[in-house]
């Protein structure tokens, strides 16, 4: 099995690569946490791409139950069919719908399974998956058969930390925390997304961006994905390169800030700061 590297679209830091490769070699699920917008979900897609493996995505909602990932027994339609005297009724297999986990276990080629935002589900959800993730097999009560992974899938689990995950679950995973990228890593990321960006614009934009992140009291600090969107706007709007360079401190709000700051309280905060700055310089 080849190991995971940075791709043409995704910059993985040294320690992220290490964590992913450890999870691949030791066949353990990899739990990824980090600030929103640091590329947690994207990681699974990129692993699949770089290994040429099929990707199975399971997006978790607050109503998702663990067994939905394994299979669902459609009792209601079987009941209905039984009333209509359909022949299908005799075989229970006709009413078992495979879930994402089953799909990943069945895959001929080693698949990448993404369990996205596991913290959105009920507090008991991770506990219900312990056995399945550990042994990579589960039992189907209706048919009395055991489904076992043909190839143990590479499992990537993301969490936004809305709920704490149970210890028993954590013990079975590897864990990586994606820290916010440093200025240098961020430069690489920008280059990967926009290879044609002028060096000047990119440098100026990054400066504004990191300055903005340092503003104390922001409710939601802008993240990588917001920077990327913002740069796209800046480029497509054909804003002269100089607009960022000659920016006047009295306008502390960067142009097209809507892409960076998503909270009206934050916009107000920036306006207030700009106002205070103007007053100070006027003195």
């Amino acid at each position: 099995m080849t190991s995971f590297q940075s791709t043409g679209e995704y910059i993985a830091t040294e320690n992220l690569r290490m964590a992913v490769n450890a999870a691949i070699v030791l066949e353990k699920p990899l739990l990824i946490k980090g600030e929103p917008g640091t590329g947690k979900t994207l990681l699974a897609e990129q692993i699949a791409k770089s290994l040429g493996a099929p990707l199975v995505q399971w997006h978790i909602k607050s109503t998702t139950k663990a067994h939905q990932g394994l299979y669902e027994y459609d009792a209601v339609s079987r009941l209905r069919d039984s009333q209509l005297g359909d022949d299908k009724v005799a075989d229970v297999r006709n009413y078992i719908n495979k879930g994402k986990l089953w799909e990943a276990f069945d895959s001929e080629q080693r698949a990448v399974l993404l369990i996205d935002e596991i913290d959105k589900a009920d507090i008991e959800f991770p506990n219900d998956l312990l056995q399945e993730l550990d042994r990579m097999e589960f039992f189907v009560y209706e048919t009395g058969e055991t489904v076992k992974a043909v190839n143990r899938p590479i499992i990537v689990i993301t969490s936004n930390n809305e709920k704490e995950l149970p210890d028993a679950f954590l013990r079975r995973c590897f864990f990586h925390f994606i820290s916010f990228p440093s200025v240098d890593t961020m430069k690489e990321i920008v280059e990967v997304h926009y290879p044609n960006i002028s060096a000047k614009l990119s440098a100026e934009a990054l400066e504004v961006f990191f300055e903005l992140r340092d503003v104390p009291g922001l409710k939601k600090r802008p993240s990588t994905s917001e920077l990327i969107d913002w740069l796209k706007l800046l480029m497509s709007d054909d804003i002269p390169d100089t607009i960022l360079a000659n920016r006047d401190q009295s306008k502390a709000i960067p142009p097209l800030h809507g892409a960076l700051v998503k909270n009206e309280q934050d916009v107000q905060l920036l306006e207030r700061l700009a106002f205070m700055h103007r007053r100070e310089t006027a003195r």
Partner: protein
């Protein structure tokens, strides 16, 4: 080798388990990392630590282990072999200093002295003093001047550039330090109790199947209500005065509380609970709600949370007329006892740091009134208080 590393992590209170250690060994076996300390750091952290709030503890443990010195606590627990100490000391000394330690006899004396000192300090520590200091001229501790001194913890002057684990990037993710609305919410989620009440809008498959079977195959659909959080909470916030310093933290707690519970009522008070509280801070003098009314209105299964810094003069708690705002006929403690006898699930959350509590008499008084159910406004404190409320 790794057993000691594991042990060192345990001593630094990093929650690690045997399975994880086996994973680590397995990974080393498969040559995921080879002879590179940084790689080993990343790999072992990825295997052993499952929450970023433990990263800082892990960094400290890693440093302690690879510096060849256990933390002082570890030293007290283990009997340190003389040979090891001797080599450790000689490692710390420059050639010049080694000359000063003229014979091995001096070294032995130093080691004896060290052990004695450790013993002594163990006892004195219980009296509340700090044992091995830094920057002094005692032969023990670090950054000192004594020529044949021994370094205990901390970085000496002869270190190389800081290692990753020495940077301690994750310091502020540690549990007690940071509190944000999200953290609070996570802690509050412990206070959940699910119940099925309300409209029946979910298909109950089991019941449907069995009743259909009983019905000789004629479909008989059964429904159940969805589960939701049925916990009921009554919160009292202290406003004004000394609480101004804690406005931000309390605001965040307030926001988190508001979205988390369906049955939530909140009231304000100033400094301490007397015969009435209020709901609207702007009209606090016109619209007061007597405690008696609250006792009648909310059933006994409500859980009561007080949020306040508990810093006031003891009279305000114990004496009739002690309130700083008005003449109260009965002492605050009487009203508090009335509330507590009605609602047996109660907690006081104090935004003041826990170390400071013992210096304020009123804090002690209130703590006693609440039978020790006072918790600091940290993630840990909240978790403890919530655990207590759900008991």
């Amino acid at each position: 080798m790794l057993i000691y590393f594991f042990d060192c992590l345990k001593k630094h209170q990093v929650p690690v388990s045997l399975t994880e250690l086996l994973d680590l060994i397995n990974g080393l076996d498969k040559q995921l990392v080879f002879a590179d300390q940084d790689d080993f750091y990343h790999f072992s952290r990825c295997c052993l630590v499952k929450d970023e709030k433990h990263f800082d503890k892990f960094d400290r443990a890693f440093k302690a282990f690879f510096d060849g010195l256990q933390s002082v606590e570890g030293m007290l627990e283990a009997l340190i072999p003389d040979d090891w100490l001797r080599s450790e000391i000689t490692k710390q000394l420059t050639d010049e200093q080694k000359d000063k330690v003229k014979s091995i006899g001096d070294l032995n004396k130093l080691i004896e002295e060290f052990k004695k000192r450790l013993e002594e300090q163990k006892e004195r520590h219980e009296g509340g003093n700090k044992w091995i200091g830094t920057g002094g001229t005692s032969p023990f501790g670090h950054s000192g001047y004594h020529p044949n001194g021994m370094r205990v913890g901390g970085a000496g002057g002869n270190r190389q550039a800081a290692k990753i684990w020495e940077r301690r990037d994750f310091k502020n993710l540690d549990n007690d330090a940071q509190i944000s609305a999200r953290n609070i919410q996570i802690a509050l989620r412990r206070l959940r109790k699910f119940a099925r009440t309300g409209a029946e809008d979910q298909l109950d498959i089991n019941d449907t199947i069995s009743s259909t079977a009983k019905n000789a195959g004629m479909l008989d659909i059964k429904m159940v209500p969805e589960r939701h959080n049925a916990v009921k909470v009554l919160v009292f916030f202290d406003v004004g005065g000394s609480m101004d310093y804690h406005v931000k933290a309390v605001q965040e707690l307030f926001n988190a509380v508001r979205t988390e519970f369906k049955h939530l009522e909140f009231y304000y008070f100033h400094n301490f609970i007397y015969e009435s509280v209020w709901k609207d801070n702007l009209r606090r003098h016109e619209e007061r709600i007597p405690i008696g009314e609250i006792l009648n209105k909310y059933s006994r299964d409500y859980k009561v949370i007080f949020v306040g810094d508990a810093a006031m003069s003891p009279y305000e708690v114990m004496q009739p007329g002690g309130s700083i705002e008005h003449w109260n006929e009965e002492a605050g403690s009487v009203w508090m006892k009335r509330l507590l006898s009605s609602y047996d699930k109660a907690a006081w959350i104090n935004p003041e740091a826990e170390d400071g509590w013992k210096y304020t008499q009123s804090t002690q008084l209130i703590r006693d009134l609440l039978e020790d159910r006072m918790y600091p406004l940290t993630v840990n404190g909240l978790e403890k208080s919530m655990a207590n409320l759900t008991k």
